[in-house]
Symmetry: none
Subunit: 228 residues, 2 copies
Amino acid sequence: MKKMPKILVVDDEQDILELIRHALNKEGFEVHVAANGLQAIEQAKKIKPELILMDVMMPVMDGMEACRQLKENDETSGIAIVFLTARSEEFAELAGFEAGADDYIAKPIRPRVLLSRLKAILRRRNAIQSAPHETMSFSNLKIDRERFVVEYNGKTLQFPRKEFELLSFLASRPGRVFSRDEILENVWGNEVLVVDRTIDVHVRKIREKLDEKFIHTVKGVGYKFELD
Amino acid sequence: MKKMPKILVVDDEQDILELIRHALNKEGFEVHVAANGLQAIEQAKKIKPELILMDVMMPVMDGMEACRQLKENDETSGIAIVFLTARSEEFAELAGFEAGADDYIAKPIRPRVLLSRLKAILRRRNAIQSAPHETMSFSNLKIDRERFVVEYNGKTLQFPRKEFELLSFLASRPGRVFSRDEILENVWGNEVLVVDRTIDVHVRKIREKLDEKFIHTVKGVGYKFELD
DNA sequence: TATTAAATTAATATTGCATTCATAGCGCAG
DNA sequence: CTGCGCTATGAATGCAATATTAATTTAATA
């Protein structure tokens, strides 16, 4: 079994704490809890979680202050911090990002959203830590994720965002076929509703720019990236 | 026509039931209904829907309890469950989350929102549980489910979907004879009405591509995959 | 806010496959 | 040898999946 990430959940409401704990546990996370900012900092130093999910409003020390202190300390500055806020506007006012937060989730909590956001953040973290693959190179094609450009036959091409992301997603695993559902999940993300013909249109645009090469249709299944 | 997902809608209020049923029907879903938790469980076992859309508050057995029982049963644990809640009450949502719900939708119901949420959840399901991608290797034949190609004598061959699925089904248990009924069950799925001569035609096509090797006829019984 | 680009949907054309059909072949029982 | 039950084969058909183009909505930028 793969080692599952540790998550520290911080909230002063016992009920919510318990429920979140239980839910995350069921997904396989190693969950720890704390009831306020002070406890959170203490716990964080001890167990070194990958991520802290923290309510903003708490007694003793609120989430914002706890976040600042965690980000200042070398031991804990690498931990991703996600806030729970009553409403999304509130977050902007409270300037959570300035305090160093990585993301926030607005209450009321939507189960799917919570899980997928946490997973997305963890994934991104891992990707950043362990992927020197920022740019992908093939014979006459280079996908430079850092500069956000594609070099094809020596020429540098600017791709619109979706096209670029679609291409680099497919190219991330050459040969492997992805269904439209998989593509929507990975390139578009969770809450988006787009008709799947949309993908076809983007594929078409990419093909135009890359002379019909690289992206192949597997009828009834999906698309794949492959060198000829 | 592509096989549309089955959705079971559970609510004790007849009006709402009808409203939802109508909206989902129009989108092409196959809609079934139940009036309470008990009926829901019963129905779920019978028709195996992809998703259950269920009110929390119901007589006889409420949604929360029904959800727990559905998630405990192996037959039904894979079904996505979405709650209808009267108001976005945080606690109820989290409780539902714990009970194993996939999402919830707050009343009053807006058909558009309902549809897009349901579609998103179904898409996610498809994306995640997409068929096992293991590849099967034999002496001079490789069936690569990930790339959706067959390698035969070093040459890479593109197979149409049905041919590919038929071949990989037979090859999943080399030597074992499958009756046409078994093949239809597994490759076509029990919903589809297809004359069984269809299988013969696909077998023929596969044989052409693989030089009459691998697939053998057992007269009066069926077909089997076997190395010579 | 006007202007332009990009993303998405909608509308239509095209193609590749799955399926059926019609017919021929094979092996076996009588 | 003949008739029956099965499978093989090739060709014809209908339709579902994709390609393509145009139109519309959304987002970005000046």
